[in-house]
Structure formats: C-alpha cells, structure tokens
Symmetry: C2
Subunit: 299 residues, 2 copies
C-alpha cells in the first residue's frame, strides 16, 4: 500500500512523498525499489531474470564502490562495443566469450548427464549447410596446410553406431584463419560428412592452428589492459545431428597446444582434448575420435 | 605451478592437459579460471573491478540458469542498445539509469556525510556554460509555460551564505520537453545565475513538467515488457559551483507529482522534494529552496 506522508523541506515548506518507495533520508532502498519496479510484469521468467540481474549488478557496483569516472568509462566501453558490431563482427559475443559467460551458458545447458560427449562453444565461424563430401574425401583445398586424416564413430549411449548422422566440420587452415576471414570468402576447411552403416566417418582436412581472436576492437583493448593474451588453442569444430538424437555442438582440441590452459574464450574441456598424431611417411597427421549422442529428450 | 598430466581420450590415445586450469571432467572451475586470467594485470584497481564483475556476472547466470536462447537475446539487446547510441542519444546511459545503476553510483559517491545537500543524477540534458542571467531575471522564453519564481540561498555547512556561487539551472518547458529535444535547438529554460553577497539567488523560469524518457529504442521496449512506465516526476536541475567548495549536482522534485514514488530512473531523494507553490494573483508559481555546499576535501 502506498501511503502519503509529509516531510519538512529545507525551507519549512511541506513536501508530500510516498512512503512505499521514496526512502527516508539516509536510508537507501534503491536496489529493492528497482527490483519492485517490475512487479507488474506478467512474464514470470523475465521478471525473475530481471530481478536477479538487478541484485547482482547492484552488488557488484556496491562491492567495488564504482566511481562516477569508472561508470562513465563503462558506458563508453559498452557503446564502443556496440558500434563495433556489424554483419561480419559480433563484438558483444566476443565480450561474452572472453568473460567466460558463453562457456558458462553452454556448461549449464549440458549439465544434465545424458551420456553424450561434452559440448563446446559454437563460436562465430559456423555456417549452416556446408558443402557435402563423400566418405574419406577432403574438405580442404590442396596445399593450405599439413594434411590431416580424421576418422571415428558416432555412437548412441549404448555404444551402437548411428548410421546417417551428419557431421558439420570446420577449422582453420594452416595459417590459423577460417575461410570467412579471407577476403575472397571461398568455402574451405569446412564441410559435411555422413556416417556409414556402422556409424563410422572419415574425411581429410588440414591440421588446425592456434590463432588470435580479433584484437582491433574494445574487447581486444580490454584484454590488453588486463594483461591477457588473445589466443585460442588449435581445435576442430563439430556439429553432429542425427534423427532421434539431440544435436551435439563440440570441438576437439589439440593435445600439447600451449594455449590449452589459457584459452582466451574458455572453451576447452578436458574430455575434448585429443592427440593430433603427426609423422606418417607421407607427412600426413591423424586424428581418431568417437562421439556419443544422446537420444532426444534424454536427461 | 602448471603440471602436465596425461588423461586417456575416448579412443585410448593420450592427451596432454595442464592441471592448473583445465578442470577434471565434470568439475567446473570456469569462474575461477576467468578470474585468474587477469592475474598478470598490473593495474590493481582494474583487476579488482574485473574479478568482482566476473564473479557477480557468473553468479547471475548460474542463479537464473540462463538458457542459450536467452543469452542470444541478451547479446542482441546489447548490440541494439549500442547501435541506438549516437551524438544525440545515449541509450546505454539510459539503460544504466533505468536499472538504477546511475543512481547507485551517485549514492556511493555522496555517501560520506559532508553536510552538503543531497545530490541527484546529472541526466543527459546538461550543457556546459549556459547563458548567464542577472539576479531576478528569466531563463525562459515568454509563454512557454506557467511562470515560476525561484529563490533561495547557497550556504556553507555552518549556515553562512556563499557569495558568487554559480548555479547552472535547467528544466523542461510547459510541454515537458528540454530545449535540446526541440528540432530548433534554441537554448531555453536553461541558464546560469550567481548568488549575491549574502548568498541569495533569484531567477524566473516556468514550472517543469513530468515527462517520459525516450521510448523508441531497446530500453523503451525493455520497460514495456517489464510492465514499467517511462515517466520522470517534474523536477528542476541544479549544478552549483563555488570556489573552495565541492560542486553539487542535484535536482528539486515537485511535491505531489504522481511519479515521485516510481521515477523511471530512480533519481528522487526525499530531501530533494519541495513544493512548487501555485496560485498567486498573477498566476505565478513559487519555489523557495536553499542549498548547502561542503568545503573541498570535506568528508
């Protein structure tokens, strides 16, 4: 209930305030007031997210006793981050990545034990419907890196092979660049393979390289001021779909990579580290890796 | 110390990981890893702000168990907020205002008891060096609202008048608009007056009106989804400076305004509510109000 009360002003005039939300002098109810402002919201989930965000945001500001200058710097940083976003660049997603938020959201989404392989962040370089290649064929143009043979199986939680699963695969070339980062925008080191009757798959590509995320924006400047490097360990992305199974978005990280323990976007999970074996007579490296999918609706 | 350990991969191959920061399977050290990523930062304050932000941000995501779709909506919202910002519009500042963060930062900055009048948010309509007007003269063009006589004193903490203090004053016209919101951009309802020898000041303007903050951007859409209105109670802004005293940015809110208890930007403080007295024979309203400044460096 809102109750009108009278309080004396500095000149002895009478001011009318509402006792419900205008606090008594010196007593701050600010955080509660902001939380209460969404009381009429009819979307219960949105209200809960808003209220929780406000409480944590205010707790942060309180704990560091954020100054006016720091606040203004924060507003300018967020504005510059927004201005850096366009059709080809998502600086806010990169901010989320480098603060570990993207990885945390992914972790929460896959926390329930379904028996499936662990997931990893999709990242900004995925494209839908990559070109299909036949079993054993190459997704990479000749000469764009060290040749890599990749093979394995896609299985269900009981270990049975899944026939006809589609694996969308993408990775960097030998220069540590994705195809979309080249000015020509020619599809390369990217394709879709399908499993055979016994659930096995095989394709050729090149050994992916560790690489720096873009550093020419506000997030790059932030990382520099924080004394952080901007590299991701070498990895190969997989997005695996099969009828009746939950899609799996994951990546396989190269064992021994110097950035495994300090991935700029915190995407590495121990179960996703695998050796890219080098050194057969032809100079071709090999990656063997199986994946497990969970049935749709499994928890 | 970083220790290399071997863990078996799904195919029996050997993967090398770094025990210091790549967690054991199923055990998340993500938040700690992100916090630790700034360990080499040589700016202790920045590192503390970063670490605290990461902990609170992750705690928020954990508490609401933010979904991938909600995360994507958040990224899009922040991007749109950035794209709405230009030379004339600061949508991120408005986001901060409507989340109560601006008011909280202001509250923290003025928490120490200096004896000064309470402060309030500067807002987006302040301009430096407004036109000066003589004691008792008007800052408003004729006919742009209900005439208002404003008078009072600027005093030090001991009650002595401060001579030569500058008061930058700005408010809405009778239509609830600031001068900069009119397409002509003619300065109006805005000016600088100075106190006389005894610390008194007097000027004429028009009675300010409650008004809606801009609603044609992402923040307006957010407030609508939250079931919140977008109005600020009527108020007159003051920024008061005098040599030897800490500047005071504040506003006087009109007693009886229907939005006092639900200010869209949470700027109202009880001590800043004052009656705008209506109804002398000429139709002119009156506001009497004193301000107290704290000496520079007073705590």
């Amino acid at each position: 209930m809102v109750v009108a009360v009278s309080v004396p002003g500095e000149n002895g005039s009478v001011a009318t305030a509402s006792a419900a939300t205008v606090p008594a002098e010196g007593v701050s109810t600010l955080t509660d007031d902001v939380v209460a402002s969404a009381a009429a919201c009819d979307d219960a989930r949105l209200r809960f997210v808003f209220e929780t965000l406000v409480r944590h945001l205010h707790a942060f500001v309180e704990e560091v006793e954020l100054t006016s200058d720091e606040w203004l710097e924060g507003v300018r940083f967020l504005t510059a981050t927004g201005h850096k976003c366009d059709e080809y660049r998502q600086e806010f997603m990169m901010l989320s990545d480098t603060l570990g938020v993207t990885s945390l959201v992914d972790e929460i989404a896959h926390r329930a034990s379904t028996g499936a392989s662990e997931s990893s962040v999709l990242g900004p370089f995925y494209t839908e419907n990559p070109p299909g290649v036949a079993h054993g064929e190459s997704i990479a143009a000749p000469g764009c890196g060290v040749p890599l043979d990749v093979r394995g199986h896609v299985r269900d939680a009981d270990g049975a092979g899944i026939a006809g699963a589609a694996l969308d695969v993408w990775g960097t070339d030998g220069d540590g660049l994705y195809d979309s980062q080249h000015s020509e925008h020619v599809v390369d080191c990217r394709g879709r393979v399908r499993t055979t009757e016994d659930g096995s798959f095989a394709f050729k590509t090149v050994v992916p390289q560790s690489y720096s995320i873009p550093t020419d924006g506000p997030v790059g400047a932030m990382l520099q001021r924080l004394g952080r490097h901007t590299f991701r360990p070498a990895h190969l992305h997989f997005r695996i779909t099969a009828e009746g199974f939950a899609p799996l978005t994951t990546a396989i990280y190269a064992a021994g990579d110097p950035y495994l323990a300090s991935d700029a976007v915190f995407g590495v999970r121990t179960s996703l580290i695998e050796e890219f074996r080098h050194g057969d007579a032809s100079g071709t490296a090999t990656l063997e890796r199986d994946f497990t999918l969970a049935k749709t609706g499994a928890t």
